[in-house]
């Protein structure tokens, strides 16, 4: 069987037969030689389960010819056996390879739904090129016995927004397979099918977490003014997972009622995981008092909640609360101070913050000290003298963090300190960081310096790091 050629707007598509010959390539080149204004040539190898090495050399020759014409060569639908040959011959690095679904028939494309590597891409392709032929195939698959075909048919119809399938998709809510239910729930949400909302509520308590989460998401998308109240009731459930899902849905609805439910629930929630979810969720509300609630949560008994509160303060860019957060750096509970210092490092770029952190440094515990040094690097105000003083601290983590902070503030000083650390610091973690800094800063003569350090270094990790830097060059 001979090859086929199609021309379309500067793109040439060549479909090779299962065993392409030298003669095929001679003819292909001849046809392309006379054509002007080619931008891309796609060679489709989907029929070739194997190609001979002489075909590879012909592909290289074709690429050369196309380079002269300033056109790109793309190999499409390369099968595994051919891919291995391209890897062995190192051609894989010189030719673009991609999937071209336009070469396949509707039936062949639908078969890809069972291939986890390409099923999503095929579904996207069909949705983008949705026509009567694709529609008929998707409707056929909706009645398939195979749940994977059914699931992907539903998702593809949803992506194409084909509302004529609404009844069948509603019916899929009764399917016995969780993934089919999930696909139907999501698509009904995308399509805005309010009629299904009540039925979707029943899936909130599904044993399958994916199905329950899809239900929460679609309820939020289909919500009206009553849904916050209905979902708010789920916050009373003894099932922690259900409370968390309800919080996700309420957060997405994001109205005043949902806010009040979540705000009030923070005080009563017993699970630290759910409180951490609440600390994150509240930051999605554009309300002034959220920052105060989060400040309170910085003192929560759970470290997870404190961490979530600090991240949320950063998320809402709570610059107006910098003064309050700074005060918490010296809290008697050192983990409050730790998360407060972390938040300051992300929120503040002012000298007043770095001055305050330096002032209280000696009064705080070791974990807070580490967070302060990290924060000073992020704030970026020059305090290199203070940080250089820390390079003689007896704690290696402090020395390492100080080196990193100096690097963020003053690169030249950091290079000096890194060189000195490589010669003198007795801890490999600090020396490892020093190599990292030299590799990033690339000061003049640093390769020779690293080579000399390599000779006398006795730590395996530092030696490996130096080697990787030198080999990278």
């Amino acid at each position: 069987m001979a090859f086929k050629v199609e021309f379309h707007k500067g793109i040439v598509k060549i479909e090779l037969p299962d065993s392409p010959s030298m003669d095929d390539f001679t003819k292909i080149k001849k046809r392309l030689e006379d054509v002007e204004d080619i931008s891309v040539v796609k060679v489709d190898l989907r029929k070739c389960s194997y190609i001979q090495s002489k075909v590879v050399s012909n592909i290289i020759a074709l690429k050369k010819m196309l380079n002269e014409k300033k056109a790109k060569l793309i190999l499409t639908n390369v099968q595994e056996g051919v891919m291995q040959l391209l890897e062995i011959t190192n051609l894989i690095n010189f030719v673009q390879i991609e999937k071209d679904f336009s070469s396949y028939s509707v039936d062949e494309l639908a078969e890809f739904f069972i291939d986890p590597e390409v099923c999503d891409a095929v579904s996207d392709y069909i949705a983008t090129h949705y026509n009567d032929e694709f529609r008929n195939k998707m409707f056929e698959l909706l009645n398939s016995d195979d749940p994977i075909f059914k699931e992907y048919a539903i998702l593809t119809i949803g992506k194409a927004h084909d509302v004529t399938a609404l009844d069948t998709i509603r019916h899929a809510l009764n399917d016995e397979v969780g993934n089919v239910n999930k696909a139907a729930i999501l698509v009904l949400g995308w399509m805005g099918d309010e009629e299904s909302k009540e039925e979707i509520y029943s899936f909130l308590e599904s044993d399958f977490i994916d199905v329950a989460e899809a239900a929460a998401a679609s309820i939020a998308l289909l919500s009206d003014e009553d849904d916050s109240h209905k979902l708010g009731e789920f916050l009373k459930s003894p099932d922690e997972r259900l409370r968390r899902i309800a919080i996700q849905a309420l957060t997405l609805i994001n109205d005043d009622d949902s806010y009040n439910f979540l705000k009030n629930h923070v005080k009563n929630e017993t699970s630290e995981m759910v409180r951490a979810t609440l600390a994150k969720s509240l930051s999605f509300y554009n309300k002034a008092e959220v920052a105060d609630i989060l400040l309170d949560l910085l003192k929560d008994e759970s470290l997870k909640v404190r961490e979530a509160a600090a991240s949320s303060l950063i998320r809402i860019n709570a610059k107006s609360k910098i003064g309050d957060i700074l005060q918490r750096v010296t809290d008697e509970d050192s983990w409050v101070g730790y998360f407060a210092a972390k938040a300051i490092g992300e929120l503040c770029r002012e000298k007043t913050c770095s001055d305050y952190l330096i002032k209280v440094y000696d009064r705080v515990e070791q974990n807070v000290k580490l967070a302060i040094v990290h924060a000073l690097g992020n704030i970026g105000i020059n305090c290199s003298d203070f940080l250089m003083g820390l390079m003689s601290d007896k704690n290696e983590d402090i020395r390492k963090e100080a080196l990193e902070a100096i690097y963020k503030i003053e690169k030249e000083k950091a290079v000096e300190m890194a060189e000195s650390a490589l010669n003198e610091d007795d801890n490999w973690v600090v020396r490892f960081k020093a190599v990292d800094i030299l590799a990033n800063a690339k000061p003049s003569g640093y390769q020779d310096f690293l080579r000399s350090i390599y000779e006398k270094e006795n730590n395996r990790y530092v030696k490996e790091k130096i080697l990787s830097v030198l080999e990278g060059l």
Partner: protein
């Protein structure tokens, strides 16, 4: 609420602050107007901090209408939190979402 710039034959709409029912509707109507002059619009979420389900509904409707009119809508530069909202609702499978503006412009 948003700025519009033209780059590489496409319009980029830089959304700011909050996407809710009201701002989402305004965004949708403006983008539909832009689609009268151009085939591809990119919505940049770089400066979006807040978004809710009403805002998402307007963006879904915008996508539906753009598909109907054979226009292309792309989204880019979402923060992790906003991207999470799209994955939670499965809408990350429906929209073309790019990590960067340059990737969306290609």
């Amino acid at each position: 609420m948003f700025d519009v710039e033209e780059k590489a034959g496409k319009k980029i709409v830089y959304i700011k602050g909050e996407v809710n029912g009201e701002t989402g509707l305004e965004l949708k109507n403006n983008v539909l107007e832009i689609f009268k002059q151009i085939d591809t619009v990119i919505l940049s979420f770089k400066n979006v901090i807040y978004m809710n389900s009403s805002g998402l509904r307007e963006i879904i409707d915008l996508l539906k209408r753009s598909k109907r009119d054979k226009k292309e809508l792309r989204l880019c530069e979402m923060s992790g939190d906003i991207r999470d909202m799209f994955s939670f609702t499965g809408l990350d499978k429906v929209f073309q979402i790019f990590d960067s503006e340059s990737a969306a412009l290609r």
